[in-house]
Amino acid sequence: MSEPGATIFSFCADPSSIDGFEWLACYLTTAKHLSIYWSVGTVLLLLAITAPVALLFGFGGASAARSRVWPVSIIGRSYIAVVRGVPDIAFFLFFVIALDQFFEYLRHQVKCPDWDMPIRQGNDFVVCAAAKLPLGNAPQWMHEVYGFSLAVLTFSIVFGAFAANVLYGAMRAVPRGQIETAEAYGMTQRQTFWRILVPQMWVYALPGLSNLWMVLIKATPLLFLLGVEDIVYWAKELGSTKTSKFTDYPHGDWRMWYFAGLLVFYLCFTKVSEAVLGRISRRLSRGQATAAGEAQRKAALS
C-alpha cells in the first residue's frame, strides 16, 4: 500500500523483481533507513554537547561541595547525593516532564497574567497557548530541538552529579604539600585553587571520568523515553517483522542483525574512546607526582 519512495539507485523502482545484492542496496537506502544513519549523528551530537556540559555541572557541584560557605556546601552536597540516588529511568520519565512543565508554568505567569482557569485540571496540565514550549504551531524541527535540549540538560544534570563526586575526590587527592607550598609563596585561596589545585586534579579524576564517559555512551538509548529517536529505537523499528502488505521490502524478525550492527558500532566507539582517553591520560601525567608521571620522567632520562 505504500508507493516506492525516492530511491538512490535506479533499479530500486520495483523491489519485488530484484534480489541479492541489489535488493540489499535498495533496502538499506530507503528513506526510513536514512533515519537510522541520521540518528547516529544525533547520538554523537548529544555526547559531544553533554560531556562538556556535564563536566561543567560536575565542576560546579564539586567546587560548591568543598566550599567553606555552609549553605553553598550543602547545596553542592545535596545535588550530588540526591541525583546519584535517584534511578536514571525515574529521572528521565518524571524529571523531564516536570522540567518542561516548570518552563511552561513560568512562561504562563509572564505571558498570560489574566488567565482565569486553573493550570492543573484533574490530570491535565493546561497553560495558555502562548506559553506552550515550543508553541503548538511551531514546526516539527523546533519540537525536536526542544526535546533534544531537554535531553541534553537532563543527561548533564544526572552525569554532572557523578562527575561532581569524581572531581570532589580528585580535588582532595592533590598532595597537600602542593597547596602548602602555594600558600607559602603567598598565593591567595583563589589563586591556589585555579593555579595549583585545578591543573593537578585532572590526572586523579580521569579514571573516574572515563568510566562515566563509557556509561554515558551506553545510556543514550534512554533518549527515546524523551521522544528523541535514537539508534536503538530505529534498530528495533527497522528490524521488526515487515509483511508485504505494509512495505516493499518484507522480511522476518531481523532485530538480531540490527542489534549486531549496534554492537559493532558501540564496540568501535568504545575502542576509539579508550585510545583517546589513553592519550589524554599520558598527557596529563606529564610532570605529575604520580606513579605514571614518575615513569614518564624516568623514560625520558634513559
Partner: protein, 241 residues
C-alpha cells in the same frame, strides 16, 4: 546547551507573536500495522493516518503527526506534548479516568490467540504474551486466571516470545496478527477469538472538550457517508458500522 534552549525560546517567542493557525499534534505509536506504522519513507502510514488526515480536513484543523512510545503515550498527552492519541487505543473505563475519548471509529475489535503452528496449546493454563498496558494484557490477567501473563513493551516482542518458546501463545488484535500469520508460515491462530474493549477511539485531554467534540462530529460524518467503512475495508480492520 543553554544557548540552545535560549535560542529555541527566542525563536519560539518571536514566532509566537502571531498565532496564525492552531496545529493539532496527533500522537501515535507507529508500530502497529495496519492501524499505524512507519512506511518505507519513514512516515506515519496506515488506517489511522488516512483516517486522521480526513478527520482533520473535515474538522478544518491543521494536523501534524508525532510518534511516541506506547508506554508513555498517555502521560505525554496529559502534559501537553501532543493533543490527541490516535494509536489503535481501545476505549476502556480505566483509561477514561485519565483521558477522554471521541466516539469510537472501529467496532470492538476481535482479538485472537496465535501459537506455533505445530503446537497444541491449552489456553487456560498457558503462558500468554501481550503488549503491556493493552486491553489484551488486562484480559489475560482478569479473564484467564489459570494463564500466566507475559508483558512486552512492543507487539513485535510478544510475537518473538512465542517463536522463542518463552510464551505458548500471544493475544493481540486480529487485524495486527492476520498478515503476520499469513506470511510467517510457522504461526497459526488457536482457540476462539475474543471481543474486548469498546472499540477504538481518539484520546484527548479531559479539559479539551472542544477538540473532542470536533473530532466526534467528524467521525460521525464519516460514519454517515460510508467513508469510514471504506477505510475499514481497505485496511482490513474488521467489523464495519
Amino acid at each position: 546547551m543553554k544557548t540552545l534552549i535560549l535560542s529555541t525560546a527566542i525563536v519560539a517567542l518571536t514566532a509566537g507573536a502571531a498565532l496564525a493557525q492552531d496545529v493539532v499534534r496527533m500522537g501515535t505509536e507507529g508500530a502497529y500495522p495496519p492501524y499505524n506504522f512507519l512506511n518505507d519513507k519513514g512516515e506515519v502510514d496506515g488506517f489511522e493516518r488516512e483516517l486522521g488526515d480526513e478527520l482533520c480536513k473535515r474538522a478544518e484543523l491543521t494536523c501534524e503527526w508525532v510518534t511516541n512510545e506506547w508506554d508513555s503515550i498517555i502521560p505525554n498527552l496529559v502534559s501537553g506534548n501532543y493533543d490527541t492519541i490516535i494509536a489503535g487505543m481501545s476505549i476502556t473505563d480505566e483509561r477514561k479516568q485519565v483521558i477522554d475519548f471521541t466516539e469510537n471509529y472501529t467496532q470492538p475489535d476481535p482479538s485472537a490467540f496465535v501459537a506455533m503452528a505445530d503446537a497444541s496449546v491449552d489456553l487456560s493454563g498457558a503462558v500468554i504474551a501481550a503488549q503491556a498496558a493493552t486491553i489484551q494484557a488486562s484480559y489475560v490477567a482478569s479473564e484467564l486466571p489459570g494463564a500466566t501473563l507475559l508483558e512486552f513493551a512492543t507487539p513485535e516482542e510478544s510475537i518473538a516470545a512465542v517463536r522463542s518458546g518463552e510464551a505458548d501463545a500471544v493475544l493481540a488484535d486480529k487485524a495486527y496478527l492476520d498478515p503476520i500469520v499469513a506470511e510467517g508460515g510457522d504461526l497459526a491462530f488457536t482457540g476462539e477469538n475474543v471481543l474486548i474493549g469498546g472499540g477504538v477511539g481518539m484520546g484527548v485531554r479531559q479539559s479539551d472538550t472542544e477538540l473532542r467534540d470536533k473530532f466526534t462530529a467528524a467521525i460521525q460524518s464519516m460514519k454517515a457517508d460510508g467513508t469510514l467503512n471504506a477505510l475499514i475495508a481497505k485496511w482490513e480492520i474488521g467489523e464495519q458500522f
